[in-house]
């Protein structure tokens, strides 16, 4: 337990592929094709302690899934090192698989035609657990994930929410020390998302399972993860506690102005203030605090509008994350 659960150092992954050149003839394209290269992950480094809950986020194509697949030994890094529980995924893939669980939200690992209980038994055998332990663990997981009502149904007849709970349960059959989840809540409704998040927090607390997840869902990050690593263009651009994420990037304040009667005109705003939404009952403006203070903005706004109520608040996490992505894209 002395060493971190995950240590990643200067991890790089390049994908090369052959591309047809329109200007070349088919013989040249066949025998001497042009090879192009994409750097999917570029010198990523971080470490994760045992029992941490990490959100690994970034826009599409940022390199999240590629990183997670290098962590599990599915992809080989072009350079750099990965150590998971002291094991090198490229050399000790099978040994490592006994220690980690994986959930790929867009792929099912369950047996579609058979009852869920068969899939759980199947995975128990895959992880070489004794028969008695498998049965005991199935009882635990059925209880923990509330699978009892559909355990005997064929997997293909389960709802998406039920299936995702079952997927996570199957990946925990061998009590992994780390669970890596690639977009586990994709496609789930709000109730199923919350249920899954609560379950992940529970296994993290009860079994000290380290959680490492990629997601585009801000709810996953906010409610589940205590630390967030942001990746874009293959590089880590932020690595900080999730609660600091919103605070660290607040250069904009939102002000809601509720009309005393009704707003009839929307005059031009002073520099540093812009409209976010406008309607007769309420206006929301965005204040760039690098250009104008909140106090000065409020004074100016109160000279322009007759208001009944005012609410000043920070941007929500989704907006903050969008800003981080956009800023990084501008720099790239």
């Amino acid at each position: 337990m002395d060493q971190p659960a995950i240590t990643v150092s200067n991890l790089t992954k390049k994908f090369s592929f052959t591309a047809k050149e329109e200007s070349s003839g088919w013989i040249k394209n066949l025998f001497s094709p042009v090879t192009k290269e994409i750097v999917a992950v570029d010198g990523v480094s971080f470490s994760v302690e045992h029992g941490e809950r990490i959100a690994f986020i970034g826009p599409n194509g940022a390199g999240k899934s590629t990183t997670i697949k290098m962590l599990t030994g599915i992809l080989f890094p072009t350079s750099g090192t990965v150590s998971i529980l002291g094991l090198d995924p490229t050399k000790d893939r099978k040994k490592l698989a006994y220690q980690i669980g994986t959930v790929f939200g867009q792929r099912s690992q369950l047996l579609p035609n058979l009852p869920l209980t068969d899939s759980l038994e199947f995975f128990g055998v895959m992880y070489d657990l004794p028969e008695k332990i498998i049965q005991k663990r199935i009882v635990e997981l059925v209880d923990l994930f509330d699978l009892g009502s559909f355990i005997s149904q064929p997997v293909r007849k389960l709802s998406l929410g039920q299936r995702m709970r079952a997927e996570v349960a199957a990946s925990l059959i061998h009590k992994p020390k780390i669970i890596l989840l690639d977009e586990p809540t994709i496609g789930l409704d709000v109730v199923a998302k919350k249920a899954l998040r609560d379950l992940l927090i529970r296994i993290n607390k009860e079994e000290n399972t380290t959680i490492f997840l990629t997601s585009h869902d801000v709810g996953d990050i906010e409610s589940l993860c205590d630390r967030t690593i942001v990746i874009n263009h293959g590089s880590v651009i932020k690595d900080l506690p999730t609660q600091d994420l919103a605070r660290s990037f607040v250069y904009e304040k939102f002000i809601d102005l509720v009309a005393e009667h009704k707003f009839s005109t929307f005059p031009k705003l002073p520099a540093g203030i812009r409209y976010a939404t406008t309607n007769a009952n309420k206006i929301t403006v965005v204040v760039d605090i690098n250009k104008i203070s909140v106090q000065a903005a409020l004074i100016k706004l109160l000279t322009l509008f007759e208001v009944e109520d005012i609410d000043v608040y920070n941007a929500d996490l989704e907006t903050v994350i969008r800003h981080i992505y956009e800023r990084n894209s501008d720099r790239a």
């Binding site: 698989a97 006994y98 792929r107 035609n113 058979l114 992880y127």
Partner: protein
């Protein structure tokens, strides 16, 4: 031991799956009756109009040879090519590579598990029906037949899985493996005695059937031949030779392929 336990679990789970869905067995049975049965009726007619003997072979030997070919094909071991290709193209391989077992062992067991229930059921029933219809040739009634038949059947199954796995693994390098699969599959079918019993092959084709890996996957179709009792050691030896060669090829291909894994979205 864990590999054997995994194999047992995969096979028993898939047999359970097939029992849950008997439609597959019915389809397989009809497919065998349609293909093998019609071919036997045609051959019976051809032998009859040729006085009962062609190339020194009688209908009963040709019929059992064809039947063994079709029985082997019920196992659908060749489908391992398509399964690997689909895993690579769909990205399912990422999920399988994150599990603590050998991907190829898993795929091979899956393929055996998918076909074994239909194979055993149809093979037993069809053997009884064919036995009653045309009888058993004398070569099937000697003591050495069952053990050597079993041995060559097992070797042929392993070789078949290896040959078709090699084809499937090409999906790591090629967009579409189907043309290669088609060529290999037709070579196996022709040299294995699907269209014409091997006993009726011209000399060159017969040699190709004996010494190519494609023909060697289906030496079960040679087991009813009168020469089998003297040649089985050479033929099983040839199968073991090809198993060693293709085992090495598949191992090297897979090791290289693992470094080439590239999946949509990473």
């Amino acid at each position: 031991m864990s590999g054997i336990r995994i194999a047992r679990k995969i096979i028993s789970t898939l047999v359970k799956d097939r029992i849950h869905y008997p439609a597959r067995l019915i389809i397989d049975t009809f497919a065998v009756i349609a293909r093998c049965g019609l071919l036997l009726i045609l051959y019976a007619h051809v032998f009859r109009i040729n006085g009962g003997v062609i190339n020194g072979t009688t209908f009963i030997f040709a019929a059992w040879s064809i039947f063994f070919y079709f029985s082997f094909s019920i196992l659908r071991l060749r489908d391992i090519s398509r399964a690997i290709m689909q895993d690579v193209q769909s990205g399912t391989i990422e999920m399988l590579l994150s599990k603590p077992f050998s991907y190829l062992w898993y795929r091979a067991c899956w393929q055996i598990g998918s076909g074994i229930y239909s194979f055993i059921t149809i093979f037993v029933v069809a053997t009884i029906i064919l036995g009653f219809w045309i009888g058993f040739p004398s070569t099937m009634l000697v003591g050495v037949f069952i053990p050597t038949f079993t041995l060559t059947f097992l070797c042929g199954s392993v070789l078949s899985l290896l040959v078709y796995s090699a084809v499937g693994l090409l999906a790591f390098w090629m967009e579409d493996v189907n043309p290669v699969f088609w060529v290999v599959d037709k070579a196996v079918m022709i040299l294995g005695g699907s269209y014409l019993p091997v006993a009726l092959f011209p000399p060159l084709m017969f040699k190709l059937a004996l010494y190519s890996p494609f023909g060697a996957t289906l030496f079960v179709s040679h087991t009813v031949s009168p020469s089998w009792q003297t040649t089985w050691t050479t033929l099983v030896g040839a199968q073991l030779f090809w198993i060693a060669i293709f085992g090495l090829v598949v191992y090297c291909m897979f090791e290289r392929a693992r470094r080439k894994v590239s999946i949509n979205g990473g």
